[in-house]
Amino acid sequence: MKLAPRLTLIFFLIAIVPLVIVGVATYEISRQTLLRQTMNHLISTNILKEAELNRWIEDGKKHLERLAGRPLLRERFASVMQADADNSADPAHEKDHQQIVADHLAPYLATGGFLEVFILRPGDGLISISTDAAQEGKYQENQPYFVEGRKGTYVQNVTYSQSLEQGVMTVATPIRDRQGNLIAVLGGRFDLGELTRIIEQGRGLNQTEDTYLANKFNFFVTESRFGKSFALKKTVNSEGVIAALRGNDGIGLYLDYRGVPVIGAYNWLPNRELCLITEIEQSEAFAPIVRMGWVVIGIALAIALAAALIAFLFARTITRPVQQLVEGAGEIGRGNLDCKVSLSTGDEIGELSRAFDCMTTELKTTTVSRDELAREKDFSDSVINTLPGVFTLFDEERRCIRWNRNLEQFTEHSAEEMSRMTLRDFFSQEEQKLVAETIEQAFIEGEASVEANLLTKSRRSIPLYLTGMRIKIGDRNLLAGVGMDITERRRAEDQLKKALVDLERSNKELEQFAFVASHDLQEPLRMVSSYTQLLAERYEGQLDEKAKKYIAYAVDGAVRMQRLINDLLTYSRVATRGQSLETADSHALLGEAIRNLGAAIDESQALITTDDLPTVHVDPAQLVLVFQNLLSNAIKFRGEDFPRVHVSASDAGREWAFAVTDNGIGIDPQYADRIFVIFQRLHTRLEYPGTGIGLAVCKRIVERHGGRIWFDSEFGKGSSFFFSLPK
């Protein structure tokens, strides 16, 4: 509910609740007062009516007694009685009857309130004379008023007369002569209509006030205000009558004979055996209070509405600035940070609006940096996602807090699943320990890496090279992990390893073969050579020149063969008989090579110079052989001049580069490929002797040491042979 209607409602309630309470209390008190007043009125009415009723009856009695006591009546009646006894049909007798009625009885009808005054014969209750001629001749001998009336004045309460078809109430008194003898009974039938009038009297003051009598059989005795001919014809069973019939006097609120709510006072009149009821409709009795009730309600509503209106106006003064604030907030919410509320009021709402504007300004600044941050995040997200491998950032509890798309693709886990996983969940049980240790190490040392297999959701495993790097963001230690898929590399490595093994095996077999072959070839060759030479010595002189020549060819062939085999052995021994590497002074080894070549150097008068040579890690005998072969070649393939050879070495970073430079015939670069192949010769045996093994051996030795061998030459202008040795 909005503020304005709420305030209005609250004020309305605040106004109306006490008003209602006061109103109800006032109403109730007034009602009680009014009820008491009404009750008092009804009770006093009943007291009055009872008194009137008694007075009326007493009056009737007195009148009748006075009449009975009149001597004239007694005398006249006595003569009439006599005439009756004579059964006279004399018209004078009839006239006497009428005279008595006219002179004595009739005047009492009005004064005594009687309908009928009559004289009964004392013996049998015959109505001798009556103001109502129709009644004359009837017998009342069993009527209590006759039986009792012979003894003294007696009032018979209301009964229903069959012959009159109405209720009657009769008073009787004896007529006595001077001696006191009973000569007749004087009866007077009360006019119950008069009774009704007496009871009705005073009703006029109120619209619905109703007083009536009811007998012990619940019958109306007098007419009620709202009924016609109810007397002794209709019954009334209201609470009031029932209570009165139990002998109670009282007053109460109940439904009357019509079923209308009334306030009723009821009295039981024991000597009359009647209920006296006075009732007034509650609606009339309470009419003033109902009017007052409406007035109170009207006033209450008017005050409450006025309060509500004031509250509404007051609420408006509060809610309008609040509304402006709300609109301003809405505007800002839509992104318009330039919006200003700036209310001029000096109250709390004004302060609020100013604080609000301050906040907006602040927000604007914050929003700018927030945008930058967002851009930065977009950038880092892009970077992370474009990383070739997987990326994940996890905290000290090893929970993944950020990762790139590759990781999701690799692991086939959704982002939602990822957020619930720790790093351990990505590795098999066997590798978890290793990974955990690496992570531990990375957290401690700042960096660590490991190769491990990443388990996917479908339980495939992908080999990764994982690198973890500790980073600090805010005060949190996080670990940025990058994993590269090394499936391809692994495969290549495996292939390479296999190829190497194959190669090694075939090399070994080849070397074995070469060694065995060359070694075993020596034996028959030696037999060919020695027996040919033996043949030449034994048959010296017996042989002609041609035979000698042939033997010389055979020996030469065998010797050459021997040399070839030896060379082959040498070549194969580079690998098979190689000594372990040791540190050696290359200069000294060069010296040994020069000494080995002493004869050839002397013969050719070659000049060999050298720079400072480094200490190297080599198989000394083999390096000697390399120098020896290169120097030997330089001398062998000399040009016109005396051979000059220079040996030098330079530092080429990770290795030493040795150079052997000569001034020989040089090499046509087109043979660069062939020159290091075994038994390859560029010249005939006649031009330059040799088997063509030297450079092949050099190459093999250098390569065994992990170095390379190459040459640089210009045909006819000398050549330089280089080889490198790792430091």
């Binding site: 001749g137 009837k138 069993n142 309460n157 209301v158 069959q162 209720g167």
Partner: protein
């Protein structure tokens, strides 16, 4: 402890209540058959009220009503034992008694006779003394309408009228001749014929025998000497319930009419209401308790019937009724 004691008392009380109820349930209702004087109508309203409001059941009685009608001898029904109680005329009781039948009245429901003689309002016939020279229809042969004859002849005798001057013709329940004017005076019941004739719109002079010293009860409740002797408790209970029903019927006769309509042959509320209204003053006369009887009235009825030679054998009139049960029922109640 107190709670246990409390619980004990509650249980004890419950057992008592249940036991009492069961005892009550076990007590079989005494079946009682009542021979009504005529067909079902408002005439017997008090008994219907007692039945419908359960007053009979409360007294441990199950009541069955037997309708009366032309040719049904109500007294005989009780004497023969077909019914335990009957609603019938006091004349019936007296006549039966004089013949030696063991019948006794226990209450007079209608304490005034409903018998009335009626003449047209313009006929100037206002008293029995006017009957000589006129045609009177006081009754016929047997049945309930014998009341008319008894009272007619009693009037004649009481007032010393010259019967030879009165033309007596049979009673016609349709009143055809009376309406036509051929009959000057006809007897009728104020609870029946009178209502009918007034509904026809006739203005009538009513001549009540009771105004001339002829005091007859009308509907009385009767039973046998044997029942009174053997089952006096049942008689008291039956009477108490019946009178209570009548008390209610009078105090709220509109309700009584509504109840009557469940039984009545003529389901005409207007008719039954009129009957009810006309019988009310006969039942509650304004004197004494409902059902109360007076020895002088019995004596008067006896004297009249004896004089008329209806009763062949004289007997002590107090054998024909008993006040015992009325006294039992009303005890010290003074209303």
């Amino acid at each position: 402890m107190r709670r246990i004691a409390c619980l004990f008392w509650i249980v004890a009380l419950l057992i008592t209540v249940v036991a009492c109820e069961r005892q009550q349930e076990k007590r079989a209702l005494d079946e009682v058959t009542v021979q009504l004087k005529w067909v079902h109508q408002a005439q017997f309203a008090g008994m219907y009220v007692a039945q419908e409001k359960g007053y009979y059941n409360q007294e441990g009685i199950q009541v069955n009503f037997l309708e009366g009608g032309q040719g049904i001898d109500n007294a005989q029904a009780v004497i023969s034992g077909r019914a335990q109680f009957a609603v019938t005329t006091p004349e019936d009781v007296l006549i039966s008694r004089s013949r030696g039948a063991p019948l006794q009245a226990i209450a007079a429901i209608y304490r005034r006779s409903a018998v009335v003689f009626q003449a047209m309002a313009d006929s100037h016939i206002t008293r029995p003394q006017d009957f000589p020279g006129k045609t009177v229809a006081p009754g016929g042969e047997g049945g309930a309408v014998r009341d008319f004859e008894f009272q007619f002849y009693a009037l004649v005798r009481k007032l010393g009228l010259d019967l030879s001057k009165i033309k007596v013709v049979p009673y016609d329940s349709k009143y055809t001749a009376f309406i036509k004017g051929d009959v000057d005076v006809t007897a009728a019941f104020s609870t029946g014929g009178l209502i009918f004739l007034r509904q026809e719109g006739l203005k009538l002079n009513l001549i009540w025998p009771s105004d001339y010293g002829i005091h007859f009860y009308s509907d009385t409740l009767v039973t046998t000497d044997e029942t009174i002797k053997e089952k006096s408790g049942l008689v008291t209970r039956f009477l108490r319930a019946t009178l209570k029903g009548w008390q209610d019927a009078i105090q709220n006769y509109e309700e009584a009419v509504a109840i009557t309509l469940k039984y009545a042959r003529v389901k005409d509320p207007q008719f039954q209401t009129a009957m009810m209204e006309s019988l009310l003053p006969l039942v509650h006369t304004g004197e004494d308790h409902i059902g109360w009887m007076k020895p002088e009235v019995w004596q008067g009825m006896y004297d009249i019937l004896l004089e008329e030679k209806i009763l062949n054998t004289p007997f002590e009139v107090n054998q024909a009724y008993t006040m015992r049960f009325l006294e039992d029922v009303y005890g010290g109640v003074t209303k």
